[in-house]
Symmetry: C2
């Protein structure tokens, strides 16, 4: 289950953490990092996340046994298309994008027969960016979702799942549609809400925020270059999740307008019950 | 600026932290805790938050130089009314309630002339409850808001502010109206949103949540017995804050529906800018 030559495209928080974790656990012999900025690649090398920085995707994937694309979701499909052409026979390609359907469908249209691809999404991360925040244990006790199509060989899913398990993650296999629908509610809508709430705060009320506001808005600090393409790719599901949220906000509004204490209590209790079940 | 006899009514997270902090900093000689549950008072005593537990409010305030009410906001005004009658001349009463206008107005109608009251609100806390989560440093580098009326003597405001500063807090003085309007946006609306979002999560998607969902919904674990009265007392301001949020959600919705990338980027960037300015 080793991948002697690993290539990571996009060596930021996620890509850097994959490199650190794979090296620490002895799953790889040589890790190549691909990026457009030589200085950032050098930082990743010094940080121990990669062994070698490479500016050219074609060069970086030539010997790769496994290629993981960790770039913003609007760039992954095109990079897979370009990279796959230069891979040797049998190379496995996967990604770490927060949306899956658009990527998986685009890759299915272009993937050459001599390589395999399966979509992936590690449910780990942070509002922080950059390899300097990467951690070898980022995926421990987290889930990674894999989204094969009907044409993806079981062996490919199995090998990529084994890689993530070796990094400490649990893996779940589901359709790209199901992934995108669930993540719209569990990840993309929370980001939208955090951003909307943060955007409302007047500068002179900043001192009047405490841990509640700070927790609720923390992910609004995420990089818009990462998040804007996520919203674009998963528009329909995010809009459906937003419908659900707005319906629930209307319940709160009606309860407050009527001063319906039983309903206010009931709504708060429902939210508490779910949140308590998640743990810290 | 010492208060030899301190009485804390409601010895949970906030009241317990006040007791720990005041004792640690040598601001008091004897701390009495008031509650309805003898076992909880004994726990607070063992925990070092109080020196003595007292079930009767009248008894507990008789010698007090300072009385701080840390009970849910729907109980504070009546407890101040009852307690004030049994205080010696010159006792200062204050509170730690998350709403101010209804409490301050109710107290103004009933306060006897031989004592003074000023409303207070330490902007610190947690989704956790109970004296077992109290911390002596809970107020360090946090703000406490004081909300005097036109009739509150400056000396009273000054002495209560000095007490909070001695616990490590900064203090701000503003009207109860201004406090409630600001906190509706900075605290009560975030709680409502967290609760609404948590309430949407189907049980079988719990594994598909990561730090974003967990941060955004953390305060939904707060005690409904504490939060429901806050929403009832600050209904009008919370509804106004909810109007603002819904207007902003409509901007996100329109941008997603039109796939208006520039507007999505702009909204995310506005949120990030505000959140980055708050720090961790």
């Amino acid at each position: 289950m080793r991948f002697p030559n690993l290539t990571i495209v996009g060596v930021g928080l996620i890509g850097g953490s994959i490199g650190l974790a794979a090296k620490k656990r002895g799953l790889v012999d040589h890790v190549r990092g691909v990026g457009r900025d030589a200085a950032k690649l050098e930082l990743a090398r010094k940080f121990g996340a990669i062994d070698e920085g490479v500016l050219e995707l074609a060069t970086a994937v030539r010997e790769a046994d496994l290629v993981i694309f960790c770039t913003p979701v609007d760039r992954i499909a095109a990079q897979v298309e370009e990279g796959a052409r230069h891979c040797k026979r049998g190379t496995i390609l996967t990604d770490a994008g927060s949306t899956k359907l658009e990527i998986v469908e685009a890759v299915a249209r272009t993937l050459p027969a001599h390589v395999q691809f399966v979509g992936g999404h590690p449910l780990a991360g942070s509002e922080k960016k950059g390899v300097e925040h990467a951690q070898a244990d980022l995926f421990v006790n987290r889930w990674t979702v894999l989204t094969p199509t009907r044409d993806t060989p079981d062996e490919t899913v199995h090998r990529v799942a084994s890689f993530w398990k070796a990094l400490g993650a649990s893996t779940a296999v589901m359709s790209a549609e199901h992934h995108d629908q669930a993540l719209a509610l569990t990840s993309h809508l929370p980001h939208l809400i955090a951003s909307a709430l943060a955007g409302l705060l007047p500068a002179d009320w900043r001192d009047l925020t405490a841990t509640g506001f700070r927790d609720t808005t923390r992910i609004a600090s995420g990089d818009p270059d990462v998040w804007s393409p996520i919203f674009q790719q998963n528009r329909a599901a995010v809009l459906a999740a937003l419908d659900q949220l707005e319906a629930r906000l209307r319940l709160f509004r009606a309860a407050l307008q009527k001063n319906d204490v039983a309903q206010i209590d009931s709504l708060l209790t429902q939210g508490k019950k779910v949140r308590d079940a998640l743990g810290s």
